[in-house]
Symmetry: C2
Subunit: 486 residues, 2 copies
């Protein structure tokens, strides 16, 4: 369809202000957070619908005219899931940004899909409630985190976003609006279209509204930061912690080298360096310091009642020390905990300018240590820095394939790697290892465009065929988010 | 296919002993726990495959010869999900009864689909682990509880069976064997076929193996039994309890009249009648007794560390008393708790001989009290006993449509109702009310044959059409578990 005709048709649906067609304004919508230019593509036009009805009309038009349609939430994805790979219409959710209801009796919130996480947290907190999942970026939209079944650091105790979604309003690719689920908690009524839509990366329908379960906020939290001399000892501690009845909210593993880079990037010290305002249990009774030879940290968040938090923290500290932790710093004050988490959040920002790709491998928890050790063998062999950290409690290891070299056991910032050469080799090797350990290519980011080539390595032909057939049912012309996943 | 030819073909696959064709032996397989003869049907033949390969061969044969195939687990369902509605081959799982692995490092167990819950609990307990879900009947098979996404009383804190399933081996209707998921916890790799299969009632594939997450067992549990003078006050307490950060393992509501019937059936007293070995908090400082005018009980199980269990129990007792509970009995000894739970398990057995249908409605938690009040209005108006109890913490109310009359606010055992007259009227009215309150027809039992007629009342045409199309993809001839759900 010619530009002017399409623009006019879309303006008729959403109003003149809701249609963006200037090339320079469209540039921002040609990519997500994935760094390489390989997946970039401009949409023909971007549009800001006001509600599900608008989206229904757009999809009907698109079907009639064979125009690709791509939904884009916060654009915070790492796999190109919202890139308009075939051009066409890009759907923006800025106008679907209302929290429709906080239902305190049923502990649920009903939101439009364009509400960003930051606003959801604020609104829910104001009402004395808590949404546990915490995918990295606060500007991600609800529609986006549902579409990828996002996880983040706080998924150990309560699970990923999937566990919290009770209802969805979805516009199917041919324009039908369906309401799946509701405010009930359990459901065995027919196939779970709800769970099929969650994690389908906007290829089966466009999510416009979500009903989300909340929980009561924890009375207290404490954050443990645990330095180790070896990556092995740090990660080896995790299965032990998971065998406890009271699970922590989060168990992260972080490399000291990545922390150092973040310090440089932010100009701030890793908050446990100055250990003064932090209680600690140490192996030999005195603070051993964190800098001397520390290779890895565990970061553990414990929540509950005051006594419980103390008891669990102490038990975990004990497990860590038995697994050769150098020390255990316990931050229970709000300010210090916030500082630590903010620093943790900035780590990705610090890596980003020099990160080629963030991998998203999951393996059985018992295999995390072996997998990470193989990654570091590859790092040494191919002389490319591969800082690997993430959600140890879920077996989710984010290897960052960096543009820097690697020498004498440390990142070598003086060497810039050519991504076209070593990058494809290294990512193949890492994925091969994940496969060997019974793992999967994506734990929380999705497949999008970037990880498509690994799909057939991890899933057999029959499963991929089944998925493709499901796509074919609702989107026979393949207009919705084309080229993704498969 | 003629009987003898089919028997011979099946014997060639599973061996001579694995094929049952005698009419009197097949009789047991013509129904599940649903009481009415309306859904009964004999299979042509029943067969005991030894593994997924056998099932694959059977399905290939069935496709070639157009023979219906119905999988039957423990036969403990309540909706006819395992009834061979169109005759043909019935698949039994007696030979797929092995626990293949208990993986203590990853807190998982790998089992064949025919393992019954009782054996799973025993095996897992022996290894110092815990599988929280507790669907009513211990002889249900794993395959069956996955196929219905069963829940049971212990789903409040940890969720239903769905939340624990990480991997499935499934034989698709045309005989392909697929392995979905694995021992990893998170997954965003393509559409979730895992969650599509869970709850699909054996219509999309035959589950032959499952990888199941476990948790560490609670250090302590305590069971609170809380008598109330009104159903209203009892159920009204539940949303308050749910707003606590520390959720109980179970929150059940039980009617005193149903308890009385169970006492008669089992010849045993409701264990809290003799309150001696049970601590209690009472509204006026002294035991007020349970018999005088008690209409409803809450039964709450709290788990965790000793201190935590005491603290939560006390907090919940306080909430109950503020909501007009007459007393709060706390059983923390193992024997007393076991007695209470065994009595609770026998309630269904006591109702069964005179129960026409057990409904499985879910509504938002805030609506349970209103829904149950409407049920009791219907009970009074139509003079039919409708004891309603179940999983208050999940909003899952099991109304039992009984053959007895109802008079002066009590069941009237002298009147036997004619099920063909009042039953269809009453079940329509109750489902209408559930629909009005934003509820759903099945929370944990599934649709099977029995609840099919309500599907279109609760789901729109588009959703049902989507489900039917998915069925069409994998089972174009409609041979697997035909006539179910839709």
């Amino acid at each position: 369809m010619a530009d002017d005709k399409l623009i006019k048709a879309l303006q008729d649906i959403v109003g003149a202000k809701g249609v963006i067609s200037e090339k320079d304004r469209l540039e921002d919508y040609s990519h997500d957070e994935f760094s390489l230019p390989t997946i970039k593509n401009l949409p023909q036009v971007a549009v800001r619908p006001n509600n599900a009805d608008d989206i229904s009309k757009i999809l009907k038009l698109a079907n009639k005219e064979n125009i690709p349609v791509t939904p884009r939430g916060g654009g915070t994805g790492l796999c190109g899931g919202c890139v308009p790979a075939k051009g066409g219409i890009l759907i923006l959710f800025d106008n679907l940004n209302k929290v429709l209801e906080v239902d305190k009796e049923n502990l649920m919130v009903v939101v439009e899909a364009g509400v960003i996480l930051k606003d959801l947290y604020a609104c829910v907190e104001k009402e004395g409630l808590f949404f546990p999942p915490h995918p990295g970026d606060d500007t991600a939209t609800i529609g986006g985190v549902v579409a990828t079944n996002a996880g983040g650091s706080r998924a150990v105790k309560h699970g990923t976003v999937r566990n919290f979604i009770r209802g969805l309003e979805v516009v199917l690719p041919q324009g039908d609006i369906i309401n799946i689920g509701g405010k009930f908690i359990k459901n065995s009524t027919g196939f779970s279209l709800l769970h099929l839509l969650i994690g389908s990366e906007g290829t089966l329908g466009i999510i416009t509204k979500a009903t989300i379960s909340l929980v009561a906020p924890p009375k207290e939290t404490s954050t443990l930061v645990v330095p180790y001399n070896t990556i092995h000892d740090a990660i080896k501690t995790v299965p032990t912690i998971m065998k406890n009845n009271a699970l922590p909210l989060a168990i992260e593993f972080i490399e000291a080298d990545a922390i150092e880079l973040t310090e440089k990037f932010t100009g701030k010290d890793w908050p446990v360096k100055n250990a003064n305002p932090v209680r600690h249990y140490s192996a030999n009774g005195s603070a051993s310091g964190v800098s001397n030879g520390t290779k890895e940290y565990l970061l553990i968040i414990v929540d509950g009642e005051k006594d419980e938090v103390e008891r669990i923290s102490e038990a975990i500290a004990d497990m860590c020390l038995k697994n050769n932790a150098k020390d255990v710093f316990v931050a229970d004050g709000k300010t210090k905990q916030k500082e630590i988490l903010e620093f943790r959040s900035q780590m990705y920002e610090a890596m980003k300018p020099n990160c080629i790709e963030t991998l998203d491998i999951v393996v059985p928890i018992s295999e995390v240590v072996n997998h990470v050790e193989v990654v570091h063998k590859i790092e040494k062999e191919h002389k490319i820095w591969l800082p690997t950290y993430g959600h140890a409690g879920d077996g989710n290891a984010h290897t960052h394939i960096m543009k820097f070299g690697f020498k004498d056991g440390r990142p070598d910032f003086s060497v810039k790697k050519d991504w076209q050469q070593v990058y494809p080799v290294v990512r193949d090797l890492i994925h091969e290892d994940a496969k060997k350990r019974g793992g999967m290519v994506s734990g929380e980011h999705g497949i999008g465009l970037v990880k498509k080539e690994y799909l057939a390595d991890f899933l057999d032909e029959k499963q991929i065929g089944f998925m493709k057939s499901i796509k074919g049912i609702v989107d026979p012309k393949g207009i919705l988010n084309p080229d993704k996943i498969f």
